[in-house]
Amino acid sequence: MLRFIAARVLRIVPILAGVVTIVFLIFQLVPGDPAVLMAGPMATEEQIAALRHAVGLDQPVYLQYWHHLAGLFTGNFGYSLTYKGSPLGEILARLPATLALAATAISLTVFLGIPAGILAALNRDRAADYAISFSVVALLAMPNFWLGLVLISVFSVDLGWLPSFGFEGWRSVIMPALALAARLIALVARLTRGVMIEELRKDYVRTARAKGLPFRTVVLRHVLRNALIPTMTVIGLQIGYLLGGSIVIERLFAWPGIGDLLINAVGLRDYNLIEAITVLFTVCFLLINLLVDILYIAVNPRLRHA
C-alpha cells in the first residue's frame, strides 16, 4: 500500500512539469507586450520598464521558463502585480476556503446522491423513482451559478434564512456547496440507481436471500458495497468539474477562495498569478484523485494485490 502511494506521488512530478510547460506556452500567446497590458493605459515608459523587470519579462524566454518550472518546488510563483511580490501567502490563506467548499460539496454528493440512487433503484418504476429520475435530468441541465442565483433568491431574498454572500460560519457554506454539488449529486444518483438495479439481479443476491438473510442486510452489506465502486470512480472523474465550478460559485457568493482570487487576477491581467492558480488547481485535481484511488483500494480488496 505504501509503495503504491509513493509510486503514485512520484508519477505526479513529471505530469506537473508537463502542465507547467503547457500553461507557460499558453501565456506566451498573449497578444502584444504583456508588460504594457499589465501596466494599463495610464502607465509611463519608466513604469512599464520597471514592471517588465519586476515580473522578469526582460529575461530570455528559456530563463523565464526555468523559473516557472523551479517554482513548482520552491513555491516561488513569481512577481504578482496584485500583491507586489510573491502571491504565495495570499494563495495559502485562501486555500482552506476553497478546500472547505469542495469537501462540503463532495460530502453532500455522497450523502444525498447515493441514498437518492438507492431509493430510486429499490422503488423502480414507482413514483419515487420517477421523481428522482426527473430531478436528475433537470439538475444536469441547470448551470450551477444559475441554481445558486435561484437559491439566493429563495433562501436569502424571500425567506431571509441564509446569508447570500461572504464567509460567516457554517450557514454560509450551505448554498454555495449545494449549488456546486447539484450536478454531481444528479450524476451519482443516476449511476447508483443503474448499478444497484444491475447488482440486485445477480446470483449472489438470490443466494443470500435463499440462505435467509433479510433483504435489508443483503442490500446494506453486499449490494451497496459493490455498487459503491463505480460511484467512487465517477466522483473521482468529476473532481475537475468541481474545482472549475468552484470558481464560478466563489464569484457568485463572494466566497474568499482561490477561484475568486483567479477572477480578480484575470481582471487585473496579473498573468503570473493566473498561471500559478491554474497550476495549483491541477495540483489539487491530481492530489484529490490520488486520494480517491487510495480509498478505492481500501473499499475494493480485489485490487489490493493487482
Binding site: 497578444p31 448551470p143 451559478f145 444559475w146 442565483l149 465550478g245 457568485l252 477572477i263 484575470v266
Partner: protein, 287 residues
C-alpha cells in the same frame, strides 16, 4: 402491421419500454434544439423590442403585459434580449464544438492509428491537457486572448479537444485490430483508405453522441464565462453576461435572472436529451 397484431402481448409490452425512452428523448431533444435554431435565425423579427432599446423610465419594471419578463436596469426588455441573445450562444456552441471535433478527430486518429514515438507523444500531450480542469483551462485561455466572442469560441474549442481526441483514440485503437480492418489491410488498402472507409464510419456514432453532449457542455461553459465577465461583452445580450448583470439587482428584481437562466437550462436539456437519445438508438446495450 399484421405481424405485430398477431404477436403475443408480452413481446409487444417488452418492446415498448426498451425502445420508447430513446426515441422519446431523441424527439424531445431534437425539437428543443430545432426550436432554438429557429429562434436564433428569426429572433430579431419575433422579438417585441430591439435588444438595446432603452426606456429609463421603465427601468427594473416587474413582468407586465408590455414586458412579459420585466425590464433590466436600463429599461431594456428582458424577453427580447434573451430571444436575440440566442444567436451568440448557438454560434459559440456550434463553431467551438465543430472546431473541437475536427481537431479532436485529427489528433485522436493520429494517436490511435500511427505507431511509435509520434503517436505516444500525441497521446501524452492529450493526457496532460486532460489533467487541467477544463473550466480553469478555459478561463486561462480567455484571459490570454481577451474577452469577446472570438476568445470565448477559442477557449471552448481548445478545452474540448482533449476529451474528444481521447475518445476517438480509444475507438481507433479498438477498431484497428478488428478482423475486417486486418482483411482490408491484407488486400492492400492504404492506411488512408482504411481510415476513411472502415475506421471513421464505425467510430462516427460514438463521435456524434459525444458531440451532442459536448454541445450541452459548451452552452454551460459559454454562460459561465459570460457570467464571469470573460465571454461576450455587454451591451450584447449574451445569457451568461445578463445573469452576471442581474445578480446585482437580486433584491429588487429577482425576475432578471429567471428568463436567461431558463433559456440556458432548456437548451442544455435539449442537447443532453438528444445525446442520450442518440446513444440509446445507436447502442441499445448502454441504455
Amino acid at each position: 402491421m399484421r405481424e405485430r397484431l398477431s404477436a403475443p402481448m408480452s413481446v409487444a409490452i417488452d418492446l415498448v419500454p426498451s425502445r420508447a425512452p430513446g426515441s422519446l428523448y431523441l424527439r424531445i431533444g431534437g425539437a428543443i434544439v430545432a426550436l432554438y435554431v429557429t429562434i436564433a435565425v428569426i429572433g430579431p423579427i419575433i422579438a417585441p423590442y430591439s435588444a438595446d432599446e432603452q426606456d429609463l423610465l421603465a427601468a427594473l419594471d416587474p413582468p407586465s403585459l408590455a414586458h412579459l419578463f420585466g425590464t433590466d436596469s436600463l429599461g431594456r426588455d428582458v424577453l427580447s434580449r434573451v430571444i436575440i441573445g440566442t444567436r451568440f450562444t448557438l454560434t459559440a456552441t456550434f463553431v467551438s464544438v465543430g472546431a473541437a471535433l475536427i481537431a479532436g478527430i485529427a489528433l485522436g486518429v493520429a494517436a490511435g492509428y500511427l505507431e511509435g514515438r509520434i503517436a505516444a507523444a500525441i497521446a501524452g500531450f492529450i493526457d496532460l491537457l486532460l489533467t487541467i480542469p477544463s473550466l480553469v483551462l478555459a478561463i486561462a485561455i480567455a484571459s490570454v486572448i481577451g474577452a469577446g466572442l472570438f476568445g470565448l469560441i477559442l477557449a471552448i474549442s481548445i478545452t474540448f479537444v482533449p476529451p474528444m481526441a481521447r475518445l476517438v483514440r480509444g475507438c481507433v485503437l479498438e477498431l484497428k485490430s478488428a478482423d475486417y480492418v486486418e482483411a482490408a489491410r491484407a488486400i492492400g488498402t492504404s492506411d488512408l483508405g482504411i481510415m476513411r472507409r472502415h475506421i471513421l464510419p464505425n467510430a462516427l456514432t460514438v463521435i456524434i453522441v459525444e458531440a451532442s453532449l459536448a454541445a450541452g457542455q459548451a452552452v454551460l461553459v459559454a454562460a459561465a464565462l459570460g457570467f464571469l465577465g470573460l465571454g461576450v461583452q455587454p451591451p450584447a445580450p449574451e445569457w451568461g453576461t445578463m445573469l452576471g448583470a442581474g445578480r446585482e439587482y437580486m433584491q429588487r428584481a429577482p425576475y432578471l435572472v429567471l428568463c436567461p437562466g431558463v433559456a440556458i437550462s432548456l437548451l442544455i436539456l435539449g442537447f443532453n436529451l438528444l445525446g442520450d437519445g442518440l446513444r440509446d438508438r445507436f447502442d441499445p446495450r448502454s441504455g
